[in-house]
Amino acid sequence: MSYSKPKFKEKYSNFINGKFVPPVGGDYFENTSPVDGTLIAKYPRSQKEDVDNAVDAANAAKDAWGNTSAAERAALLSKVADIIEENLEEFAVVETCDNGKPIRETLNADIPLSVDHWRYFAACIRAEEGSATELDQNTLSMNIKEPLGVIGQIIPWNFPLLMLSWKLPPALATGNCVVLKPAEQTPSSATLLMEKIADVFPPGVLNIVHGFGPEAGKPLASSPNVDKVAFTGETTTGQLIMQYASKNLNPVTMELGGKSPNVFFNSVMDEDDAYLDKAIEGAVLFAFNQGEVCTCPSRILVQEDIYDAFMERVVARTEAIVQTSPYDVNSMVGAQASNDQYEKIQSYFKIGKEEGAKVLTGGEAHKQDGDLAGGYYIKPTILEGHNKMRVFQEEIFGPVVCVTKFKDEAEAIEIANDTLYGLGAGVWTRDAHQLYQIPRAIKAGRVWVNCYHAYPAHAPFGGYKKSGFGRENHLMMMSHYRQTKNMLISYDKNKLGFF
């Protein structure tokens, strides 16, 4: 079965104060599909004035919204979940068109997971409580959680609706108003969502402003009228946003990517069974979402005594990947999201080869015919080398994995941690001791053990080292969007006696 490019309007607007409004300056940019290079639609090229209007609307709405009951907010979040679910196929096709990822993924991962994140935080906010402690017989300390106010959120293009659904629900559930800027490569699913949920929240609670980073992202990140900024992206922009936040003394959370090791111990090959099959798939998950995942398992570490046998199976499985039209439900790897990513990945092939990496499979663009000739396709690629090579150290953000071998546990840990980043890691073993000890020794915020690339709403996600700080998902996320109001109450009728 195959889908086709969905219909779009000629141009779209920002969503500010409950209404679709065109950009003040009247400028738009053209958004194209990486599937075939064709035009999708025009989106607002917003400037500071548009961002300020959205921030003002959010500030005007924050007191009333912050005082709504948890039950009320949860009901609205659930409503959003239901609306996305009812239109799952429509969202999936739009996402595939805008991002280039295969329809198989949007139908089964991006959109259903988005639905679940809205539902999860609707549930969390109902179940959660503050705390009270009797400090002594006459003194009660009461902790009330209050919203921060207005949140600025800047999201990436690799999972457009899912990243939106990671960021919005916890901020809204906790009583904040939000101004969100989608990535300029992928503005479509956020816009479709606003069309479907335009009347769900009171005006000003949720605002979407489109535009370019230097023109719209920077004014949002540096606005003195925003109380917190949450960002997913890369290190230099992360550093800039922290600078702006330091001027406003605002909190920030940062998710900045990684170079995640996926470690395979020799026991995985003790049997040729379902588990080994799962482990091989686990290694090939580097190609998931065209490798455009912050946690892409982009370094495979294999114990030396199984290296040849294991990699033979991994290469064969990689070469069995079907890469046709992203609209075809059988296609497993789609298009890279933009031309510059496509070029960047190929520049890494060049430096990788120069540094002496051996291409085990792939290593070049994947030319497609007909309508897809204008798209940005890369063959899933395995490079063999050592961990000091640049291809082992930098996030390529393509379907590219670098593989090397290790002798023992100590060397596995050393290589795994020899990276600037610490977002994700995978550990594969049948050894009960390694199952616990190795993940504990790896400096990363998420270690998948005998699995990879699962992102349940109920498990906290975030980075160590240069991968950032703060967590996403899980109810602990709500603390990132709130102040603690401590009320210290005396029930003692008697004075202190000082004055």
């Binding site: 940019f29 980073g213 890369e234 992360g238 510059d340």
Partner: protein, 119 residues
């Protein structure tokens, strides 16, 4: 000898951006999404200190990289180029529908001796 150079077409864009924004710097980003690419900002927009390594000047613009990242890059020669594209960072060329990118090659023996074996 230079560690970092720039193609003519990229230099042309740098000239345009300088005319519009004044003094600029390049900072090489790492990490996900639009990372692993050079970004260009107004000179005073980004706080720099001794943890930012100065690699050289291209078209009158200083090129910097974080020290930790430099450790893994210092054996390579960089060329700043430009391509059609759309980044989501704050880099100033993005509204032009263009993105800077880096082409790398290994330093020659002479270059490596010159840059990395001093003292």
């Amino acid at each position: 000898m230079k560690r970092v150079e720039i193609t003519d077409r990229a230099a042309e864009i740098v000239k345009q951006l300088k005319a519009k924004h004044g003094d600029l710097i390049f900072h090489q980003s790492g990490g996900c999404c639009d990372g692993s690419a050079p970004m260009i900002f107004e000179k005073d927009d980004m706080y720099l200190d001794e943890s930012d390594i100065f690699l050289g000047e291209v078209e009158g613009v200083n090129f910097y990289m974080n020290q930790d990242q430099f450790e893994y890059w210092k054996h390579t020669h960089l060329t700043v180029d430009i391509t059609e594209g759309r980044g989501a960072s704050f880099s100033l060329e993005i509204p032009l529908g263009l993105r800077f990118l880096i082409h790398s090659r290994l330093l020659t023996k002479e270059e490596d001796a010159f840059f990395n074996m001093k003292a």
